[in-house]
């Protein structure tokens, strides 16, 4: 057991993957000497060489498209997209090629590509550096999409993503990069596609992933003061979603709140809410509620505290599903 930041836990996972399989290669902008803008690949080029840790020219489509060719040749490429908002030039290669080649070739050609994406806001960044584009990819058949929330998962999940024979979009919660936790390399990791109950509770199921899992746990703690018992589910996998775990929790609590930083409309919260409603309508005590970013572009840094779901907005949603007075009560009275 070692105490590591989430960023260093990913570094360790990459290192172990490079050691375990010489077909693993890393490809991205500034990942060599600099070690990546977040230092996640720090020291790896020095230890594994320029043929395995490759500084790529500045072209995301080519980073992903070149990884496709490497995968054709039997490699396991790990691409780093420097920031969430930079992934769009690579979108065509991800959606039209990476996601479809295994299907297109009836299983003959595998695409064991991991695409690492630092994502989400909360760091006071300029435009295009705080986005949550995961729903574009969960909507795309052929991709697996995951997001880690703590150092132990970060280590284990990046290793599982690289070992997977399917392409994996690996969303890293950049504002939690410096959160520290114990990492046990020997621990048996749950399957990559599984969710996990990270706090047990009886009244409300609160579903979160990535950067908002910590916020959700804080909210659950705060809810105790109001006598509300909140169960927190860390989704971990966004495609597939482990609906069985969420469903089991909601059957017990009867209430569902889903939170994410990404915009509201067509987001992952809509999918979780509708599927859970289909599966356990008669166990629900209240309509599921989503707490999300607004349907605006990601705003300027001085506005992001309004855009991002925080502890109080989550508690407000908990009050709604509990039938307690909440921010919408006033609107209902005046309406």
């Amino acid at each position: 057991m070692t105490a590591l930041t989430l960023a260093k836990a990913i570094t360790l996972g990459l290192r172990r993957s490079l050691e375990a399989d010489d077909r693993v290669v890393l490809l991205g902008e500034d990942i060599g000497k600099l070690g990546g803008v977040f230092r996640v690949t720090d020291g790896l080029q020095a230890d594994f060489g320029v043929r395995r840790v490759i500084d790529a020219p500045l072209a995301e489509s080519a980073i992903v498209g070149t990884a496709v060719g490497l995968a054709f040749r039997g490699f396991r490429p790990v691409c780093e997209i420097q920031f969430d908002g930079f992934i769009y030039p690579g979108f065509d290669q991800i959606v039209a090629q990476v996601a479809k080649l295994h299907y297109r070739t009836a299983g003959a050609v595998r695409m064991p590509i991991t695409i690492r994406v630092p994502f989400g806001g909360g760091i006071g960044a300029v435009e295009h550096h705080s986005e949550s584009p995961e729903a574009y990819f969960t909507h795309t058949s052929g991709l697996r999409v995951v997001s880690c929330s703590n150092p132990q998962d970060a280590y284990a999940m990046v290793r599982q993503a690289i070992a997977s024979d399917d392409p994996v979009l690996f969303f890293e919660p950049k504002r939690r990069y410096w959160a520290t936790g114990e990492v046990d390399e020997e621990a048996v990791a749950p399957p990559l596609g599984s969710a996990r109950v990270v706090r047990q509770g009886a009244d409300v199921t609160l579903v979160a992933y990535g950067p908002l899992v910590a916020t959700a746990l804080d909210a659950a703690l705060a809810a105790v003061e109001d006598g509300i018992s909140v169960e927190v589910v860390d989704l971990r996998s966004l495609s597939p979603v482990d609906f069985d775990t969420v469903e089991a929790s909601v059957r017990a609590t009867g209430r569902l709140v889903v939170v994410h930083e990404a915009q509201h409309f067509g987001g992952l919260g809509a999918e979780v809410a509708s599927t859970i409603t289909e599966r356990c309508f008669f166990h629900l005590e209240a309509p599921p509620v989503r707490v999300t970013g607004f349907d605006t572009p990601y705003p300027a840094a001085k506005l992001e505290r309004h855009f991002l779901p925080d502890l109080d907005r989550i508690l407000d949603a908990v009050d709604r599903v509990m039938g307690r007075a909440n921010s919408l009560s006033a609107l209902e009275v005046t309406a």
Partner: protein, 374 residues
């Protein structure tokens, strides 16, 4: 031979501005070219006859497939009429351990790579998204997104370089693709990594209805040197010149020289696909000019000049083309429709809980119909 290879750098292009590398003139005469000749010195009468057979079979397959589409047996077909020499000359320069990434018009390349006639058809009849296993023939499933495959070829070549083997990758694309960002990005990556890749551009003068002049105001081959990639502009209807140029590029790649760009100047004599109507945009006079430069007529005249166009060769080629056409028709009509639940197959290599549930639910739904559609 090696001297000319070393001369291949961006500052001294092999083809002079505006000119084309050529070994066979349109009337079938050998054009002297001391730089190219050594690269096809091994093409003896038997090899020439084999090239003639390839070109003829590919044209016959193309014509027959077009007819099958007109009869409703294929959903679509992208004719390669006129581009046979560009495809055969380049593909026959390859080794089995090389790997090609093509667009959808390269059925001639596929034939030369060993794709069976039956395997050419599923994509166009709509029974599968790929006709063959790419690893069986060293050729990826053709890319439909224009230019995307140039990056795949570059990545594959980078993989060969990392492994230290002397295999090469070839990216086939058209003049239209050169406007796509992916093609420029591929050239940047290939040059920076000295990847053993050949960029083989068939300039067939048309991207559906858009003439090449809309994609490029200068010869396309002139673009590559600015990326640090030497280029050759070759007569794409001259099977020998294309073969020589491709062999030069492949040899550079194998020796660690990095990427080479070949612009094979040819002409799309048919429609973009069977859904297209080139009558709305092709100038008949221009088409007639190119008909006079036909790649097969040219090789026939050359064989005739050499006294090789014997009745025996004619009969043998007739048998090959007739057999290919019959096989195409038989294979097309014999293609089975896929089973309903196969729609869920191979989306993922490993189990996926969401999709597994969807399959189970649709299977139960189909069971309501006594399996009549499953």
């Amino acid at each position: 031979m090696l001297r000319s290879l070393d001369q291949l750098d961006p500052s001294t292009p092999m083809s002079a501005p505006g000119s084309l590398l050529q070994l066979l003139s349109p009337d079938g005469r050998r054009v002297p070219d001391p730089e190219l000749e050594p690269w096809v010195a091994d093409v003896d009468p038997a090899a020439l006859a084999a090239l003639y057979d390839d070109l003829s079979v590919i044209r016959r397959l193309d014509v027959e497939a077009t007819a099958l589409q007109r009869q409703g047996e294929l959903g679509l077909w992208p004719p390669l009429l006129g581009q046979e020499a560009a495809q055969v000359g380049s593909a026959r320069a390859l080794r089995a351990d090389d790997f090609v990434f093509t667009s959808y018009r390269e059925n001639g390349v596929a034939y030369c790579r060993g794709v069976s006639i039956a395997q050419l058809l599923p994509v166009w009849r709509g029974t599968a998204l790929s006709g063959w296993n790419p690893y069986d023939v060293g050729m990826a499933t053709p890319a439909v997104i224009i230019g995307a495959q140039t990056l795949h070829a570059t990545g594959y070549a980078l993989g060969c370089a990392i492994e230290g083997v002397d295999s090469a990758a070839v990216a086939y694309f058209g003049d239209g693709a050169t406007s796509q960002g992916d093609v420029s990005e591929a050239m940047v990556f290939a040059a920076s990594f000295a990847a053993p890749v050949v960029f083989f551009c068939q300039n067939n003068h048309w991207a559906i209805s858009e003439p090449v002049g809309l994609q490029a105001t200068r010869p396309i081959a002139d673009r590559a040197p600015a990326f640090g990639i030497p280029s050759m502009r070759v007569d794409g209807n001259d099977v020998l010149a294309v073969m020589a140029a491709t062999r030069i590029a492949l040899e550079r790649a194998r020796r660690g020289g990095g990427p080479t760009f070949i612009e094979a100047v040819t002409y799309r004599m048919g429609p973009h696909t069977t859904s297209d109507d080139p009558g709305r945009y092709v100038d008949p006079d221009e088409k007639a000019e190119w008909a006079a430069k036909d790649p097969i007529d040219r090789l026939e005249r050359h064989l005739d000049d050499l006294g090789l166009l014997t009745d025996g060769l004619r009969r043998s080629v007739q048998r090959s083309t007739d057999a290919a056409a019959a096989e195409l028709r038989r294979a097309c009509l014999a293609l089975p429709d896929p089973a309903a639940l196969s729609v869920f197959d191979h989306v993922y290599a490993e189990p996926h809980s969401g999709l597994d549930r969807q399959r189970a639910e649709y299977s139960a739904y189909l069971d309501l119909f006594d399996g009549s559609d499953s």
